[in-house]
């Protein structure tokens, strides 16, 4: 089985991208990735498109993108795993190369949510729980699902509004240094506290924005990677898991079960000790579609003890120079969350971090040469944990 290397990355400006259509947006990221890897389309053996879809007009997005980016007739598919769609797309390419089926594969994550009016987008995201038993009669929204986790944590662990706010303040701080981010403006706790409630206890500043954006990765086998680059970033392992469609079928509402199961799998494969996990990584990108999600991620990844995750950002532990820098690209919160692109964007961020190519003001110290991404789909319906290293995996 071949080792799998990232040899090219591409990332567009995230935000309201009404200047381009879906395939033009994808091309911006694809072009950048091809140039970075110094490859041409003919070198790409297969391409995978992560696009949750529904928001934008082309239903067969992989084909629309394949034609536009001059990738046809190479084999393709559209992959969906809700907000973890991008990581699912990476998994397909990763497995293809690992197994020897392909030597070079392109992963494209893209979403253009602003093609739909906002109230329709809110409706579509709300429908992404269990449609019949949760949405049809009870009209949950996406912030609403995560708000149920936040309310429970407040009651159980005494989490305060400011604990949520401290995550928003941190992610906006780093977003202000990321030219690709939707929001490049810092916020104060006061701005957070004054922001409008969208689903109690979550406010507007607890939530990521509706976003357009694309990101791309080129993955290659060890043999090819050695020929074309001196600085490959290796995918060491990936764990993935699923959760219940009905939120009500979960037990405690204090942790995302799927994310813990996926973490265990990824750590086991990479020989990482859960209780000491933060010592292995120089930087992490975690799924902060809402501030409460980032807090649960700290615990699900073993960075904080159960019941203490909400104290990390406020204590400075997840800033650069702290225990473990998290979401120093601004996270979904400030960078934006174009559903299908998010997982790929996380991989691009971590790759560039490990190669000391992060934007000024967002570069973490790289000591171990290892990073991790934590990408959750839905409200814990899907989870993908991926571990990256500048050192070739031993096994």
């Amino acid at each position: 089985m071949s080792n799998v290397a990232i040899v090219g990355t591409g990332h567009t400006k995230f935000g309201v991208r009404t200047d381009v259509n879906l395939q033009e947006l994808a091309w911006e990221a694809v072009k950048q990735a091809l140039e970075e890897a110094n490859l041409e389309q003919k070198d790409i053996e297969m391409f995978v498109v992560g696009n949750a879809g529904g928001w934008s007009s082309e239903p067969l997005s992989a084909i629309a993108i394949g034609e536009y980016c001059n990738l046809a007739p190479k084999g393709t598919m559209r992959v969906e795993a809700a907000c973890a769609t991008g990581s699912a797309a990476i998994r397909i390419a990763y497995q293809a190369i690992k197994s020897g089926e392909a030597k070079v594969a392109l992963v494209i994550g893209v979403e253009q949510m602003n093609q739909s009016p906002h109230p329709v987008a809110v409706e579509m995201m709300g429908r992404a729980g269990n449609y019949f038993w949760e949405f049809e009669n009870f009209g949950l929204t996406f912030p609403g699902y995560y708000a149920l986790y936040a309310t429970r944590r407040m009651a159980k662990y005494g989490m305060k509004e400011e604990d949520l706010g401290s995550v928003a303040v941190k992610n906006h701080y780093y977003g202000s240094y990321n030219p690709y981010a939707t929001f490049q403006k810092q916020i104060k706790m006061e701005d957070y506290s004054k922001s409008r409630v969208v689903a109690y206890p979550l406010k507007l500043y607890d939530a990521c924005p509706i976003t357009d954006g694309a990101a791309a990765l080129i993955l290659a086998s060890e043999e090819v990677a050695r020929k074309i680059t001196d600085s490959p970033v290796w995918i060491v392992s990936q764990g993935f898991a699923s959760g219940t469609i009905n939120l009500s079928k979960r037990e405690e509402f204090l942790t995302i079960d799927a994310s813990r199961v996926a973490t265990e799998e990824a750590y086991r494969r990479a020989k990482i000790d859960f209780n000491d996990a933060w010592r292995y990584f120089d930087v992490a990108d975690v799924h902060d579609c809402f501030t409460i999600a980032e807090i649960m991620a700290y615990e699900d990844l073993g960075f904080a003890k159960r019941g203490e995750g909400h104290l990390m950002a406020g204590n400075g532990e997840t800033y650069i120079g702290g225990k473990i820098p998290v979401n120093v690209d601004g996270g979904l919160k400030a960078k934006g969350h174009p559903i299908g692109a998010t997982g790929v964007s996380m991989a691009v961020s971590i790759t560039r971090q490990l190669l000391y190519r992060a934007h000024k003001g967002t570069q973490a110290d790289i000591r171990n040469g290892m990073g991790i991404t934590h990408n959750v789909g839905g409200t814990g319906h899907y989870a993908y944990i991926t571990i990256y290293s500048t050192r070739k995996p031993s096994a």
Binding site: P119, G126, F138, G139, T141, A155, L247
Partner: protein
């Protein structure tokens, strides 16, 4: 108000305004193209709309709706392993057994968590802000429903009762949680 009036009201507020805008655009510029106010980017406004209303098979759990209509809430129970299912399902997929029996739910439970939805989905715009909660019933199962209570009186851990309720203004039968 029935669904027809609700739809008409929504149509007048949202769809009709959009259609009028499209007509106006075509009249003035020959094509349905608008300029985004902030960026001046030209945007084509779709002239084809997509309305979707699903028809969802409920035959295997029809009993649930029959009971609901009589004011009763049931779960289903596997006679082999004893698991109670809510939402109800007719297959115990772990025992690979179908045709499960029904159990009437006590309705007594404790509120595990809740949220108040203030920014609503399009198809829920005609309701006041609503509270969605999850309660754990005595039987050990969780139920998600609206909590019919003043937000000021609501607390995680409070005792709640699950009961059958009418959803207005449509007037159809569903279920809700209330403080006891």
């Amino acid at each position: 108000m029935g669904t027809v009036e609700i739809k008409e009201k929504q149509f007048n507020e949202i769809d009709k305004r959009m259609l009028e805008q499209i007509d106006q655009l075509i009249k003035t510029s020959g094509m349905p193209i608008i300029r985004e106010p902030k960026t001046n980017n030209p945007l084509w406004v779709d002239v084809r709309d997509l309305t979707q209303r699903y028809v969802i098979p409920i035959g295997k759990i029809y009993k649930f709706f029959e009971y609901l209509n009589q004011g009763k809430l049931i779960g289903t129970k596997c006679p082999k392993c004893g698991t109670i299912y809510f939402p109800p399902q007719d297959d115990c997929t772990s025992c690979r057994l179908s045709g499960l029996t029904t159990v009437e739910l006590s309705g007594e439970g404790e509120l595990l968590t809740y949220t108040i939805i203030t920014v609503k989905p399009l198809s829920f715009m005609h309701y006041q802000d609503y509270i969605v909660g999850i309660a754990r019933l005595k039987e050990g199962i969780n139920v998600l429903a609206w909590v019919n209570e003043n937000p000021k009186n609501i607390q995680v851990g409070m005792k709640v009762k699950l009961s059958v309720a009418k959803r207005e203004p449509e007037g159809y039968i569903t279920y809700e949680l209330r403080r006891t």
